[in-house]
Structures are given as C-alpha cells and as structure tokens.
Point group: C2
Chain length 222, copies 2
C-alpha cells in the first residue's frame, strides 16, 4: 500500500476558521473523534500515537493524518501498525491549517473511522493559531525540553487542556522539576490536566488512554 | 541592572534581506563576530551560550540578544553571568528578523563587544528564512529529539554548517544513533561539521569552543 502524499500549495490555502468549522461538521456527521496532536520536534508525537493505536485498535477503527515540512517517515511508521494514513507535506510551512485537511479527509475512509489523530508539524508556536476541525487538542511536552517551556510558549499551554508529559523515564538524568512545571501550567491554564508518562516504557500512559477511550466512545455512541 | 525589553510591532517589520545586510555592515565595522543560534525549544541554546561565555569571557567581551515569544527568563539567566543582554519579545512571532535587530543593537555597547550571540526563538522551521546580519549560524540539535530530525526539518540542517549535538550524556538512555544522524546530515549538507557534546557535563564542548575562539579572534584582528 503506497502512502498518499498531498502537496500543499497556495490554491488550497484560505480562510481557516470557516473551513475548520466545515471540517468539524463533516467529522461530527461521521462520529469521528478527532485529536490535533501538537508538540516540539522530537517530543514523541508519532510514538505516542502508535502506543495509542496499539492499545485501542481492538476497540476502535483509527486513522491518522501526518503533517510534516518534509518526508513521509512518520506516515511510514504509522503504516507498520496497519492503520490508514495520509501524509501532508507543507513544503516548508510551519503548521497545518483547515484547508489542508480537506484533501486529507477525502483520502481517508471516514465511515470506518472512530478516532482520527492529526499529527501537526513539530512547532510550539505557529500551529496554535490554526484550528483544523478537531474535537480536542493534546500538547505533548517532554522532560528534556525543560520545565520552563510553559513560560516561554504560553499560548500553546493556554489553548490546550490535555497536556501529555513524555519521557518521564529520563527524569533521573535531568534537572526537570515536575512540581515547577505543573505550577506554571496551572497558573496560565487552570483547566489543564497533565498526564506524565513514558512512551518508551509505557508507564503512566494508561490514565490518558482511559480518558481517550471514554471520549471516543461517547462520540461514537452519541 | 534592569533588562531592556523591546516589544516587536508591525512598524519595525519590513524588508528583511536589505536590513540584514545593513546590520552585517554595522557589526563588521565594529568587528563584532555574530552568531545566530537556532534550535528546537529546550535543545540547550541558553545553557550552551552560558558555557561559551564562561569559557571565553577572559579573552573576549561578549554580548547577547535573546529572542523569545514571551518572558525574559533566558535574558535573566544571561545576566547572572554578567554580560550585556537585550531581550526581544516577538509577541507570538515565531522567529527573529533583521529589523528586530536594529533596536537591539542600539541598546548594546557594540564598541566593547567582540562576540555577539543572538539566541533565536525556539523553532526548527521559521527562523531559517530570516538572516539577521550574522557572520555564522549554529544549529543546536539534541539527542532526545531523535536522529531523524534532519530528514524532517531539512532546510535548517542544509543552511547551517555548524551543528552542535547536545545532551550526549543522555545517549545511553535513548535510541539515538549518532552514525545515522551524521549520515543524513552529511547527505543533505556535505559541508556540515557536527560537534557532539554535553552542555551539562561540558564533555566535548571544547572542540567547538576552539573553532569559535579562532573565528572571533580572526575578526577582531582583521
């Protein structure tokens, strides 16, 4: 199965908010629970999505949209776990937008999908301003990035209530202070829920997966 | 000593390339060797700059421009090592540009500076397109980000010849493959020089510092 690669060009760029709302309606009609996954480069977006797929694939049909500046290596990783995947290459662009979703959704079997992950471009700034039509955003932070990131990239932490904190297995070798991280996150976003975990070992990921399973089931059965 | 904070607004945004050339001439006249430091969030930009300052401050006068979306905490860290520092807050902007440099340079004692670090906004995409007037760029990658980052953010690795690879002390706990990283970097940029090191322990940083010292001396004595 070859990977569908959609090249983004100016023709499909346009008013974002309206298109995001149209995407949302389309996904709501199909009862597809959609998660926009945001993070720095290398925080563990693809690995976390693969963990979630392996944990939930017996319960739900899952699809993935991969957003990258260049390459299809993340889409190829998703393919190895047998899920339908579409790659969007932004050709240098620093975020996905709602218009890029249209051809991606056209190329996914939405009737057969309960849970759709959209892996955004690795970037803690630009993707925040662009809704895609998702039900929820999750932000993946990671311990090697340091506990000061919420201070420095506040918009991303303010506009996302579900914060996954990956690479907890590395904490013994780092100066990362979990209490300091949590304190500043809750200062700028009192509604945030932080899930510390290690994608490598799997430790701690179940709490978030339980939340995700409940959310997907609720939409599927709505 | 309070930290000078420059708020970027539309009035000082404009044609970038011409202004970068003007900045370069201004810095050349003062014989200031200028380094534009690029990286993902949390790769170790500020820590590496502080390491370099502590190693070279007896030989050179050093200044720093800090670029952040928000906050002055990096500038405050630089202040603790006693160097002149200017903070640029981009108010959501994802990169520094040449026009932002003008008020920053106005607020630094350029006559007394041999080496100027410009710490760009943490972002592996957008800062690449904007020259600031620097003599050289360095890109700081870090092992927890993974060895596949050159594939996924190729422009940044193509347009920067000096690549510092930080957090080598974490390699025993990661799947990071140095040979794979080096191979892809050299495929997309045969002129690249990679300096693996640990900012935390200091191991390996001397090779890059020797290069830097020679470059600063050459410009100072030109």
């Amino acid at each position: 199965m070859s990977i569908k690669v959609i090249k983004v060009n100016e023709e499909i760029l346009g008013a974002n908010e309206n298109q995001a709302e149209l995407n949302k309606r389309r996904l709501d009609e199909k009862k597809v629970f959609t998660v926009n996954v945001l993070a720095s480069p290398g925080a563990g977006k693809t690995s976390t999505i693969i963990r979630a797929i392996n944990a939930l694939k017996k319960k739900f049909h899952i699809g993935v949209i991969e957003g990258d500046v260049s390459s299809s290596i993340d889409a190829a990783r998703i393919q190895t776990v047998g899920m339908p995947v579409v790659q969007i290459n932004t050709a240098g662009g620093c975020h996905l937008d709602a218009n890029m979703m249209v051809p991606a959704l056209d190329n996914l079997p939405l009737d057969d999908i309960d849970l759709l992950f959209i892996e955004n471009v690795g970037n803690l700034i630009c993707p925040n301003a662009f809704k895609l039509g998702e039900d929820t955003r999750i932000l993946i932070a990671s311990t090697p990035e340091g506990d000061d990131k919420p201070y420095k990239y506040p918009a991303m932490f303010t506009d996302t209530d579900i914060i996954l904190l990956n690479k907890m297995d590395l904490q013994p070798y780092l100066d990362f202070n979990f209490d300091a991280f949590q304190k500043v996150v809750l200062e700028i976003n009192p509604d945030a829920v932080i899930y510390p975990y290690s994608c490598k070992t799997g430790e701690g990921i179940d709490a978030w997966l339980e939340w995700l399973e409940a959310a997907v089931s609720a939409k599927k059965n709505s």
